[in-house]
Amino acid sequence: MADQSRMTLLQLSRLWRRGVLLACLLLAVPAWSADILLTAAEDGAGVQAFTQALAQQRPDDQVSFTPLKDLPAPSQLPAGTRLILLDLPSLDWRLLDTQGPPTLVLRISRLQARQRLGNTHPAKISLLWSDPPLERQLRLIADTLPQARRIGVLYGADSEFLLRELIRFATPLGLEIVPQLWDNTSDSRPLQTLFKNSDVLLGLDDPQLYNPKTVKNLLLSSYAQQLPLIGPNAGFVRAGSLASTYSDQPDWLAVLDRLLDHPPANWPHTLYPQHFKVVGNPQVARSLGIEQVDETAVAARLAEGEKRP
């Protein structure tokens, strides 16, 4: 009996040690090492570069990229996997299953999400918005064009839902949103109407309105009225828009880094990146008689403003 009891004690202590080890392992695994699986329908230099950069950013995780076509159904992936989706086809694939690993969706705009999901929030899926946040863009206007009061906004059927939010953000900044429906981009009369009643234009990231076909007429006719355009994204700044906020790869890596440090249960349903930059077009500013946009200083001021809501 005594032996037995000694045995039991020994076993107990062994069990205890194993248990502690297991507990330690269980607790430590997420922090030390996770399977981060990136996927997209199309592979490319950009995707590879990003995967590599993320792997460098998180040396303790297993970061890998698998093309969408090589993946099983989402529910068949190990539950411990963190899934990062890099395009819309991969989101469609992920939505096929209500079950599946926790997922971060990148490169999706508010508009695209609404077209796919409506107002629903599927479980375990976090949407990280690619379009510049409206409030940030409004603050950018307030910072670079302090005299502007009337913000002209073109919208279409797809982007109309953003207006309410926009107005909500504009009011405390003392800005007035002048909305104008532009449902037929081959008819530029709505532009003329809007230009007459605006001090500055804010572009919504709506590809129906802002695309390679409309860009010329939009920029030339607003420039003819000496009206600056803010946004809709960094690409447009190069084309001739005055300035925009944007988040690039380093910003997104920083955002992901923070999220991946947290357990997926704590991930937000949706998120605008808190890391961002500002880009301005100095030639356009000069021609419009506006001070050059000091990209670093403005970004710092905007970030500062966001910390103190």
Binding site: R149, S186, D187, G235, A239, A285, R286, S287
Partner: protein, 694 residues
């Protein structure tokens, strides 16, 4: 080069990979108002509409220093600061880059320009010489009329205007767009009675009626190339009073009018190349024709067509005139004292007068018609050498041709080559240096080189000081230099000296060796935009001198053109444009111009004080109003003060917009307009317009 942060991130997965063309390129962007190397007044579409003006000339009252007068009701005379009585000889006028300055007779027929007010997007007036950018006639100012782009003219517009003084205008346009281009077609017409009475209270014959056609097309060929082309035509009748007075006494028969049938045609094609965002080029070609058909009945004594009298005139015009004016004072054998040859001819003329029916009335048609053509080709290259250096250079070839029996005894033509270059250098954030030169070689008037230099100091991007020195030349036009002016009377009622047509004995010839006029202009200016107030200010001091000036009035008999005159204009101009609120806009202009000239006629068209004031307001619920005051003291000795009020109501029904507007013009003085013959019966005029837009 500029957006260094962006291209580096081109492979960034998170930056929009949509391939967007660079639209607002270094070659497309213009200088900000504070950095313009001179003074610029822009009359935007809001002002054009609010002014209620029916003519471009009336709009130019909004430009400080612009002297707007009328020779007759259908002949506006517009000059910047002054000089020429009836013609815009020293001002360049362009429509979308095409000069509408008449090829032969050196005038701008404001009323005949084939463009409707409704098609104008804005008018940019460069106040000061700028031959470097706009060619040799840009001596005192450049009026650049820019029409609405076809892409911004979609849909249908119909407008009708009716009012007192026979005002009856219409406008209709249709804009169509397709995948790669846009088109605008517009038809318009204008009609009014002109002034009511002349200096002695008789009916003034100066009404007009015209119709216009305009087609503008822009077409994108590919990412680098696009073309814009236009066709314009205008036909109409401009009434002219019958002013023919017989040379010889006792002739009572005559005609009733010398109306002009005016037809203008223009076509232009512009090919734009964008090699890259830093380099672009365009080639523009245009062809224009001005047809002025003017035939009137003339009656005079048969002796007017005497070959001997013509010979006498060629020998000594003064002698011939003395004889002609006093035929009955002299008799055969006792002609006015003169040389033997003169007296011999005079005796023959007197013989014709007394004994061979020389006193008899003979009637016929005088044909003063002209046909002028211009073909113009221009290549302009814009090259942004670096972020702070831009070069605009180019070449221009022009062929002008004037066809008129009366003025040129047939046909006269001229060719002009022009080379120009203009460099903009942003030396620092504050200093901007701009300079250039133009070389011109004209077949009829030789070659010349004119420079231009401007320094702008930008206190900040919205406030700039400028100092400008420029030289400009004006080549004597065909009329001044090469006129061969005589009247032929056709279809004579009875043959004179064996012929059915006769040449009047008066012949005027241009000297043919006139030199160019030279303008030296100095300007100090300030342009600023107070963003928090919404106030734009431009002030400038001027000191302009014209030497070798050809100031003789364009008149038959004893026309002796020379380069003997000179003028000097000094003064100050200011313009304020203040958007007081979203609903109110206040605009003020004022010019003080002091003119000194060797020929008193050259300063008659200069008002020492002139200006305008405007208040535009949106009252809400579609109501808007515009109140304007225009005034000048003593333009050709007559004061001008007028208040215009326009009240409009917009009604939107679905996608259709209706605008109803009433316009009242009230003269505050009771002076004639520019000349004693230009009078209205009432000091006010009222007209209404209705516009439908769908």
């Amino acid at each position: 080069m500029l957006l260094c942060s962006l291209p580096a991130l081109a492979d960034d997965l998170f930056l929009d990979s949509q391939p967007l063309p660079q639209v607002l390129t270094a070659t497309r962007l213009k200088q900000s108002a504070a950095a313009v190397p001179g003074s610029m007044t822009v009359i935007d579409s809001e002002l054009i509409k609010a002014s209620g003006a029916r003519d471009i000339a009336e709009l130019l009252r909004l430009v400080p220093g612009m002297m707007v007068g009328y020779t007759t009701g259908n002949q506006a005379s517009v000059n910047y600061h002054g000089t020429s009585a009836s013609d815009a000889r020293r001002m360049q006028v362009l429509i979308d880059g095409r000069s509408v300055y008449r090829a032969g007779l050196a005038t701008v027929d404001w009323s005949d320009i084939p463009v409707a007010m409704e098609d104008i997007e804005r008018i940019e007036v460069f106040r000061g010489p700028n031959t470097v950018s706009y060619g040799a006639n840009a001596l005192m100012a450049v009026v650049n009329i820019l029409t609405r782009s076809p892409a911004n003219s979609q849909g249908s517009r119909v407008k009708v205007t009716r009012g007192e003084r026979g005002i009856n205008d219409f406008y209709a346009s249709q804009g169509v767009g397709w995948e790669t281009g846009d088109l605008r077609l517009s038809l318009s017409g204008q009609q009014d009675d002109g002034f009511d009475s002349d200096a002695v209270g008789a009916d003034r014959r100066d009404g007009r009626r015209l119709n216009r056609f305009s087609l503008a097309v822009s077409q994108t060929l590919n990412a680098q190339q696009s073309i814009d082309w236009q066709l314009n035509a205008k036909e109409g009748t401009n009434q002219r009073p019958y002013t023919y007075t017989p040379v010889f006494d006792g002739i009572s028969e005559g005609g009733s009018n010398s109306d002009v049938i005016a037809k203008d045609y223009a076509g232009s094609l512009r090919w734009n190349f964008e090699f890259n965002p830093d380099h672009s080029l365009y080639i523009q070609g245009s062809a224009q024709q001005w047809d002025r058909r003017q035939v009137w009945k003339a009656c005079d004594a048969k002796v007017s067509f005497s070959p001997q009298l013509t010979q006498l005139w060629q020998l000594n015009p003064n002698y011939a005139e003395l004889l002609a004016r006093h035929m009955d004072t002299y008799s055969q054998g006792s002609p006015p004292p003169g040389s033997a040859a003169e007296q011999a001819l005079a005796n023959q003329v007197l013989d014709q007068w007394k004994n061979h029916g020389g006193k008899d009335t003979v009637c016929g048609d005088i044909d003063q018609s002209t046909r002028e053509s211009r073909y113009d080709v221009e290549i302009q290259d814009t090259f942004s050498l670096s972020d702070s250096l831009r070069l605009v250079s180019g070449m221009n070839y022009r062929y002008d041709r004037a066809d008129s029996d009366t003025y040129f005894n047939g046909t006269l033509d001229d060719t002009t080559w022009r080379l120009f270059g203009h460099l903009e250098w942003r030396a620092s954030e504050h200093w901007l240096l701009q300079g250039g030169a133009m070389y011109e070689d004209s077949h009829l008037s030789g070659d010349s080189l004119t420079p231009r230099v401007a320094v702008n100091y930008l206190i900040n991007p919205r406030h700039g000081l400028r100092a400008v020195y420029s030289e400009a030349i004006r080549s004597p036009d065909m009329f001044e230099n090469n006129v061969n002016w005589s009247y032929r009377v056709n279809n004579l009622s009875s043959p004179a000296y064996g012929q059915n047509s006769g040449q009047y004995f008066v012949v005027t010839r241009g000297p043919g060796d006139l030199d160019k006029e030279l303008m030296r202009s100095r300007e100090l200016g300030y342009n600023g935009f107070f963003a928090d107030l919404g106030l734009n200010v431009d002030v400038k001091l001027i000191y302009d001198e014209i030497t070798d000036m050809i100031s003789s009035p364009l008149r038959n008999n004893q026309y002796i053109a020379s380069n003997a005159n000179s003028s000097r204009f000094t003064g100050a101009e200011s313009q304020f444009d203040w958007r007081m609120s979203n609903a109110d806009r206040l605009r003020l202009t004022y010019a003080y111009v002091d003119a000194t000239s060797s020929n008193p006629r050259d300063k008659a068209q200069t008002a020492r004080n002139s200006g305008s004031a405007g208040w535009l307001r949106e009252w809400g619920q579609g109501w808007s109003s515009a109140l304007f005051y225009y005034g000048d003291d003593a333009l050709n000795q007559y004061r001008f003060q007028r208040v215009d009020l326009r009240v409009a109501k917009r009604i939107a029904v679905g996608k259709t917009n209706v605008e109803l507007a009433g316009m009242l013009q009230q003269r505050l003085d009771d002076q004639p307009t520019t000349w004693a013959d230009n009078n209205y019966d009432h000091r006010h005029v009222l007209y209404f317009s209705a516009e439908l837009d769908f």
